[in-house]
Amino acid sequence: MKAAAFAYTAVASSAEAIGALGSSGPLAKVAAGCQSLGPMLNLRLVRPERLIDVSRAVDMRRTTDEGDALVYGGAVTHAEIEDGLAPDATPGWMASIARGIAYRAVRNRGTIGGSLAHADPAADWVVTLTALGAEVLLCSPAGARRLPLSQFVTGALATALREGEIVAAVRVPKRGPAARWGYWKFVRKRGEFAKASAAVLIDTERQETRIVIGAIERAPLVVPDAQAMFAGPQTHRAVLESLLPGRPQGSLVFHAAALRRAIAIAQGETAQAAMP
């Protein structure tokens, strides 16, 4: 279980990364914390010719305050968000989400940008940042563009990332004290990939309400009529069934439970907890 040979370039900035990517051809791959890419390399599921390591790219390690949002460099680690070393755009929710990602060893190296670029449907950031209305900042030699996360993740392990483009940063709108949040994922053991998850944002101040269902082997599902879900759990199964046709009943049970529990947390009925 050792990677096939590859070349390696460490870069000091996003600009350098973009340059290296441009000159390396299509078989180069951007690497940051390597918590997903590393095992895939070792299992030889991916065989890039070159890794471009952005984990020490200075501008991607910063968090910038833009007034109504914080912009996290793509190479900010989960642990930095968990520990408050990177400021929290929300009233502590991001730190709490980070704390529930895999294990501390993974969080020490894994990055927010890397997680989004990998786009595992069960990944915590993929689901929660969609609910939080985050955008990704994508950079390439052609320039920069901003894309809402709901448009960036296009499927399981699939994104709108173009050739030569990197996830330079993630822009997360700030949330005030009146905003409410609930996130619940179904795992059999701590640190495991979620089998079902749901995130709920109720921000009356910014007039945003969003419910997102995750861990469904596709891009996160943004529930079209979020308000209807608050009427009670009786309709959850039926709504999920219509939104996720073909999904086995056995799996819908867990998604419905995640939805109900995330709403209960957001509505303050139960405390935020990562575990069932």
Binding site: K2, L43, R44, Y103
Partner: protein, 787 residues
């Protein structure tokens, strides 16, 4: 039993009974342990194996990459090497030979077919990718319950059916069931697991020109047995092979085997005269090493109206995998099922048939607890089912049927000799600690909680007669130890068993301290090296505290006699008046003393001061030891679990867990607690998490720990251990084997607790692990019944 320590203060700081901190931990926790993968030799080549991608197939061809043929080896290249043979001595056993590198056929996914050598593992894997393996896939035997079907493909084509061995025992069964008021019949199954030690298997082998022998470092539990097996397979003398187990990161039975990889590496070092290395990776472990625990039971329990257990009838299938492994064979598991199923209960009648079936899966190995985890699960769930049928509290039903203390020593229905113990008291303490009454009140209040018990005994340190009776090809005899004073008065202990987490560097030193009064800090344990230690069958079967402990006691006691003789001369007191304490000899009646250091100095460097002829008696002794009977010690435990069941998502939460444990006299209570806790964590894995699924074609369906769930620290509740201490009358200090115990009880206790929580709904779980899907399915059955 010699009541040596009865005279002494029980809280003796370093001797038997003291919780001396584990001496090996300073090294291991500082990252200074040396494991196989830490050994680097100049010019060493890494081995990557080409492994079978299919469960069953005929090898059409193996084509080595052009120009690199000299770095790739297939079975036909291994001239003079024979396959691994482990034949049961029982009649009707069907023989298999496990090839070192498969030729002709492959019989399970992950079976080695070719070995590729290169300067790094990555390059060896490149080479392995370039080998063209052409296999014609054959229908596979994946499901043990269908292995005996008339149309099942044959794993070994020269057999008539896929059965290594069938056994049957009937002890007064028909006569005993008359008058049964409750009869419950249940089907249970346990899942195939990976043992998942932190360190996998691994070997480094090189040829020592001066010693004219190949030296094999192996992550093994039994270096001496591995050497014997290697000599057989390679057709060379034992003297040409030295096996060393360096620090080993957990065994649990996974390393109690002679592996194909060990044979190949030894052959390669011998033949190529180059150091070679193979380090198992997790993918190899998970895809080719899921090799334990898979049982199927059809079991019927019979009880009288008053709750008296009358008889048990069982048909058990063990999925033994593709080959009979060396040295324990394909049949140890089923032999245990048949003989241990009655557990700690008095039974009037017993009938049991077992089949050790062959399937296209990795060959079964005895995992911590061996068959006991499965039989305890089957038996204890039947007890609960009977209790429910009769309206008796499950722990009360057990209380009425376990062997009472006044019956000890007790010979049970399968002729197991229980040496000592108070089983009812263990039950009472567990029931009180878990507070059954409080659970019943919570249930009345509508909480979906449940309490479950498991009581079992663990035959440990069992010896010659037991293993000979089971037909196991390697039968242990006595255990030996060498005790030797060095010129500075330190003590060196040499034992053939090998410590891989058991804390033997500490506990055996405590025993030496007990006999010789030598400070534990001045005892050095030499172990895990065939060149330096007396022969031993190794570390398994909860045998070290009793067997190696007894041998160390015997050798150090012999040495103490010799030390006393010299001290007697120096102190001018009779030997019987000489006490050995605090690293010195002193007269019982005087203040004068002479240190062990001084005695050693005189013996080695100033023999003119010794009594005449004393220099002719070595300051070292090798002694053999076996307990007064070789039928084993019977430690026992009662586990009690309190769980809640989430009806929405089917999860089980462990709210409380109590273990009442009786290991006889504990050499080091802290080490025992560590063993019990570690075992219990593994048992919780068996109960709730661990399963290697195989598809119809025999493909293992979990290739990483993302799919094969091991419990982590977060899944283990606080576990309360309550000790009882009933000495064994058979052993040196009254100690009993206890190393496997923790892993045996949790599946049964947790399943019973879940079923207790579900009892009001009239449904039960019957399969391990108890996944949310199982629980939800049971709840759906309940809803279906209600509608």
């Amino acid at each position: 039993m010699i009541p040596a320590r009865a005279e002494k203060d029980r809280s003796a700081r370093e001797g038997v009974g003291a919780s001396v901190p584990r001496r090996e931990d300073a090294r291991l926790l500082a990252g200074e342990g040396r494991f196989v993968a830490d050994i680097k030799l100049p010019g060493m080549l890494d081995i990557a194996f080409v492994r079978s991608p299919v469960a069953h197939g005929r090898i059409r061809s193996v084509i080595k990459p052009g120009g690199l043929e000299a770095s790739v080896f297939i079975g036909a290249d291994l001239e003079g090497v024979t396959g691994i043979k482990a034949y049961s001595g029982l009649p009707g056993f069907r023989r298999s030979i496990q090839p070192v590198l498969a030729e002709g056929k492959v019989r399970h996914v992950g079976e080695p077919v070719a070995a590729c050598l290169a300067s790094t593992r990555a390059k060896a894997e490149d080479l392995a990718e370039a080998v063209l393996l052409d296999v014609e896939t054959l229908p596979a035997v994946s499901e043990m319950t269908r292995a005996r079907d008339a149309n099942a493909p044959l794993v070994h084509e020269h057999w008539t059916e896929n059965v290594f061995l069938e056994t049957a025992v009937d002890i007064g069964f028909e006569a005993a069931i008359a008058g049964a008021a409750a009869i419950v019949k249940r089907t249970f199954r346990t899942s195939r697991q990976c043992m998942a030690p932190i360190e996998g298997r691994g070997v480094v082998a090189y040829y020592d020109l001066q010693a004219e022998q190949v030296v094999l470092y192996s992550s093994t539990q039994m270096p001496h047995v591995v050497r014997t097996g290697l000599a057989d397979c390679l057709g060379i003398d034992h003297g040409r092979i030295r096996v060393i187990a360096p620090d080993v990161g957990g065994g649990f039975g996974y390393k109690g085997v002679l592996s194909s990889e060990e044979v190949f590496a030894t052959w390669a070092a011998l033949t190529l005269r180059r150091p070679v290395r193979w380090i198992e990776d997790r993918r190899e472990h998970l895809t080719g090493g899921a090799n334990c625990r898979e049982h199927h039971y059809e079991i019927t329990g019979y009880a009288a109206q008053d709750g008296s257990l009358l008889a048990v009838d069982c048909e058990a299938i063990v999925d033994s995998g593709a080959y009979s492994i060396y040295p324990f064979s394909a049949c140890l598991e089923a032999a245990q099922v048949a003989s241990i199923l009655p557990g700690p209960y008095r039974l009037g009648g017993y009938r049991c048939r077992t089949w050790s079936v062959a399937t296209n899966k990795p060959p079964i190995l005895p995992y911590r607890g061996v068959a006991r985890a499965g039989v305890c699960f089957a038996m204890e769930l039947v007890i609960d089912a009977l209790a429910r049928e009769l309206g008796i509290e499950p722990h009360a039903m057990r209380l009425a049927n376990v062997v009472p203390p006044e019956a000890m020593p007790f010979t049970n229905i399968t002729s197991k000799y229980f040496d000592s113990g108070d089983y009812p008291e263990a039950l009472r303490r567990a029931a009180a600690a878990i507070d059954v009454g409080a659970v019943r009140r919570r249930q009345c209040a509508g909480e979906r909680v449940g309490v479950g018990f498991a009581i079992f005994c663990e035959q440990g340190a069992h010896g010659t007669s037991v293993y000979a009776g089971w037909g196991i090809p390697m039968v242990p005899g006595a255990e030996q130890a060498t005790a030797r004073l060095t010129p500075d008065g330190s003590l060196e202990l040499r034992v053939g068993v090998q410590s891989h987490g058991q804390g033997l560097e500490t506990t055996l030193a405590q025993i030496a301290h007990e006999e010789l009064g030598v400070p534990v800090a001045q005892v050095k344990l030499v172990h895990g090296d065939t060149a330096l230690t007396p022969y031993s069958t190794g570390t398994w079967g909860s045998r070290c505290a009793v067997m190696a402990g007894g041998a160390v006691s015997a050798a150090t006691a012999r040495l103490a006699e010799r030390v006393r003789a010299i001290a007697s001369h120096l102190l001018q007191a009779p030997p019987s008046d000489i006490l050995l304490e605090n690293g010195a000899a002193r007269s019982r009646f005087g203040a004068a003393e002479v240190t062990l250091r001084e005695i050693s100095r005189l013996w080695f460097t100033a023999p003119q001061n010794l009594p005449p002829g004393a220099e002719m008696t070595p300051l070292e002794a090798t002694e053999g030891y076996k307990p007064l009977r070789d039928t084993g010690t019977f430690s026992y435990a009662c586990h009690a679990a309190l769980v809640s069941v989430d009806e929405e998502i089917g999860t089980v939460r462990l709210l409380d867990y109590v273990i009442v444990e009786d290991g006889g006299v504990l050499i080091n209570p802290m080490v025992v607690d560590g063993q019990v806790l570690g075992g219990a964590a593994q048992g919780i894995g068996t109960a709730l998490y661990e399963k290697m699924p195989f598809d119809e074609a025999g493909q293992p369906m979990a290739a990483t720990f993302a799919d094969y769930l091991l419990p982590g620290a977060g899944e283990i509740p606080p576990i309360r251990i309550l000790h009882m201490e009933t000495p064994s009358p058979l052993t040196r200090f009254g100690q009993k084997g206890i190393g496997e115990s923790g892993a045996i009880g949790p599946p049964a206790a947790i399943a019973n607790a879940v079923n207790d929580a579900l009892a009001g709904l009239g449904v039960a779980v019957s399969e391990l692990p108890i996944t949310p899907e199982h629980v939800l399915a049971a709840l759906a059955r309940a809803n279906g019944a209600a509608e």
